[in-house]
Symmetry: C2
Subunit: 352 residues, 2 copies
DNA sequence: TTGTACGCGTTATCAG
DNA sequence: CTGATAACGCGTACAA
C-alpha cells in the first residue's frame, strides 16, 4: 500500500527511473536487468532478454545512478586535478586536454587550486580522496615533495604533469625543457649574442632546475659567456619575481644583451622593467620566454618563446592515469613531449 | 570467521575507516556515532558520548564516505559548471570565484566546456545530471535557450552567469553592461570623438544585445553620430570575428575615429587589422575593449577597457546557487555587478 | 538519550 | 541463463 511511485505520473517532477523500474517493465529481475545493461556482463544473458531490457530502459529513459554504482564498486569515475592556480594561462589548455580524454572514458575531473600553499594542498588532496577520486593528476610537484611520496606509498595513483619529482618512480608528462632552452640559446647565439642572461624559475621545481641546467650546458656548447653573474633565480614563476630579477641583472651591470626567461610570465616581468627604465626590446635587450601562452603575439613587442603542446600534455597525462587505474600492475611510463621555438620580434641581433 | 578487517593492520594499504569502526571504538552504535558526528543531530546525543565518538573518529582518522551519504540523502554536494570554453581568459577568474565559495560550503564543481555546440551542451548537461549535481551554473546562455527553459521546468536549480535569458525568471549574475558601455562612450566623447563605431558581439546573447543597445543610447545621450554604418555585428566573441568586422568598418568608409568593441577579444581583432593595414592606434583610431582580461596592459598599445569583477561574479553566482539549493522556495534574485573604466593607451583624442 | 531496523540503487555471488 | 539475496556506508524513522 502507499505505492512509492504513483502510476501514470511519468513526466515533469518525475522521480528518476531506477533499475527496478526497468526490470519490472521488462518482466525480469533487477539482477538480470543490471547484467543486460552492463556491457561487461551482457554476454551472460540471453540475447532476446537483453533486447527487452534495453528497450524498456530506453522507453523509460533510464539513467543509471552513478552514486549507487560507486558505492557498490568503490569506483567513482572521477579523478582529481591538482593545480597551483587555474588563472595561470598555462593551465586552461592542459585542463581541456585532460577533460577531452576523461570525457571519452566516462570520467570527470575535480579541479583544485593550491596557490602553492602546502597546507592547502594537503587539505585539498584529502578532500579529493574523501570524494573517492580514483587517481590524481598533479601539476604542483616540487623536487622534494614528501606529501606525494607518502601518497604513492598508499598506492594512490598519480601522474605528474609539467613537473617531475627527483629520485622517485612516478609517471610524468613534461615538455622537453632541455631541448627548448638549447633551441633558445642557439637562436640567440646565431643572432650574434655572446652575453646571454638567464632568469631561472624556482629551483625547487624540476622545470626551474632542468631549464637552468640546460642553460648552463647550452651556453658552453654554443660558446656564449659562462658567467655566474648572468644567472638570477626567481622564487616564483611570476611577473613580479621576473621583474625583480631583471632589475638585479641590470643593477649588477651584467652587461647582457639577451635574456632567456624561465617562462613567459617572467619574460613579462622583464617587459615591465624595460618600460620602467626606458630600455627598448629587442634593440637593447632581446628576450625569450617559455610556454607560448595565449596572446603573446599581441605584446609589445611580440614575444619569442618556446611552444609547448599543452593540450597534448594534458591528454597524455589523462591517458596515462587511466592506464594506471585499469592496469595497476603496469610499469610506470613517462613522456617527454617536443617543444618548438616560436620566433617573434623580441629577439634581434645585439647593438653593434 | 574470516574477519573482513584484520586486526592490527591500520596503516599503509589500509581499508578506509568507516562509521562502524568509529562506533565500535567508541563503544556505541553506528546510529549514535552518526548523530554525534552530524552537527545537525548532535544535540540529540549526550555531550559526553559526543566527545568519545569525536575522539575516536579523530584518532582513527575517520573520513565520512560522501558517496554513501549521497546515496542516502540524494545530495551530491556537487554542482555543474557549464562554460563555452575554459581557455577563454574570461573564465578562469570566474571559476576560482565559484570554487572559493563552493569549497567553503563543502561543495565541488564539475566543469564542462560546450564549445558553443548545442548538441554537446545537451549531452554534457545530461551527464552532469546523471552525476546527480544539485544545481547548475551556466555561462552559455543565449537569449533563446529552449534547453534551459526545459530544465527549469524540471525544477533543476540554475544560476546564469555573465548572460541572461529573455522573458524568463531565472536568477543571474552579470556585469553592468549598459553602464560600462556608457562609460566608454562618454570617455571617447570627452576625448573629442564624434564618429564612434561599435563592433557588437553576437546579438543572440544578452551580453551582445545589451551592450549594443546601450551603445545606441549612449551615442544619442552624449551627442555622437547616430549612423547605422557605424555598427557591425560579430557572429562570435572571437578575435577572428572582430578582425572581420573591423575590416568591414574600414572598407565601407565609415570614417570612424574610435571603436567600442563588444569585448577584449574583439578589440584584439581590431589590433590585428591595424597591423595589417598600417593603421596606428590610438593616433588614427582609438579602441575600447570590455572585460579587462589579464595582460591587456602589456599589449601594443595597452588596451583601454572595462573592468568586470570576475572573481566576485563567480562567487556571487555560487552563493546564489547554494541559496537556491538550501531554500528552494526563495524568490529568485539577480545581481548586477558594477564595472569600471580602465583607461590605458589605446584611447586618445582624434587627429585634428 | 540510545539502539533497532530499514532503505537509498546498484552489483556480486550464490543457487537453481 | 536467471532469480534470490546480500552488501556497499550512511542516515533516519521508530521503538526502547
Amino acid at each position: 500500500m502507499k505505492p512509492k511511485r504513483p502510476a501514470g505520473i511519468q513526466q515533469a517532477g518525475a522521480q528518476p527511473v531506477t533499475l527496478r523500474d526497468v526490470a519490472q517493465a521488462a518482466g525480469v529481475h533487477t539482477a538480470t536487468a543490471s547484467r543486460a545493461l552492463n556491457p561487461k556482463a551482457r554476454q551472460l544473458v540471453n540475447a532476446e532478454t537483453v533486447r527487452r531490457v534495453v528497450r524498456a530502459a530506453e522507453t523509460l529513459g533510464y539513467q543509471p545512478n552513478p552514486i549507487a554504482r560507486s558505492l557498490k564498486t568503490s569506483k567513482s569515475a572521477t579523478v582529481g586535478l591538482v593545480l597551483p592556480d587555474l588563472t595561470n594561462p598555462l593551465f586552461p589548455p592542459i585542463v581541456r586536454g585532460i577533460e577531452n580524454v576523461l570525457e571519452a572514458a566516462g570520467y570527470s575531473a575535480l579541479i583544485v587550486n593550491t596557490d602553492n600553499d602546502p597546507d592547502r594542498e594537503r587539505a585539498l588532496i584529502e578532500s579529493l580522496r574523501s570524494r573517492q577520486v580514483e587517481g590524481l593528476i598533479v601539476a604542483t610537484a616540487r623536487l622534494e615533495h614528501p606529501l606525494l611520496r607518502q601518497l604513492q606509498e598508499q598506492d594512490v595513483k598519480i601522474v605528474l604533469i609539467n613537473r617531475r619529482i627527483e629520485n622517485l618512480q612516478m609517471p610524468f608528462v613534461v615538455g622537453d625543457d632541455a631541448t627548448g632552452i638549447a633551441l633558445a640559446v642557439k637562436h640567440l647565439v646565431d643572432l650574434g649574442h655572446t652575453r646571454i642572461a638567464h632568469i631561472a624559475g624556482p629551483q625547487i621545481t624540476s622545470t626551474g632546475l632542468d631549464r637552468s641546467r640546460a642553460f648552463r650546458h647550452a651556453v658552453r656548447d654554443y660558446g656564449a659567456a659562462e658567467d655566474p653573474a648572468l644567472i638570477v633565480e626567481c622564487a616564483h614563476w611570476s611577473e613580479g619575481d621576473g621583474a625583480g630579477a631583471m632589475r638585479e641583472l641590470l643593477d649588477r651591470g651584467s652587461g647582457c644583451t639577451a635574456v632567456v626567461a624561465g617562462n613567459d610570465l617572467i619574460a613579462l616581468g622583464c617587459y615591465d622593467v624595460f618600460a620602467e627604465r626606458g630600455i627598448s626590446c629587442p634593440e637593447d635587450i632581446s628576450v625569450v620566454g617559455f610556454n607560448d601562452m595565449p596572446f603573446l603575439d599581441k605584446l609589445r613587442p611580440p614575444l619569442t618563446t618556446l611552444g609547448v603542446p599543452h593540450h597534448e600534455l594534458g591528454a597524455e597525462a589523462a591517458r596515462m592515469l587511466l592506464d594506471c587505474i585499469e592496469e595497476p600492475q603496469r610499469h610506470p611510463r613517462s613522456l617527454l613531449l617536443p617543444v618548438s621555438l616560436v620566433v617573434r620580434d623580441s629577439t634581434a641581433p645585439p647593438r653593434t
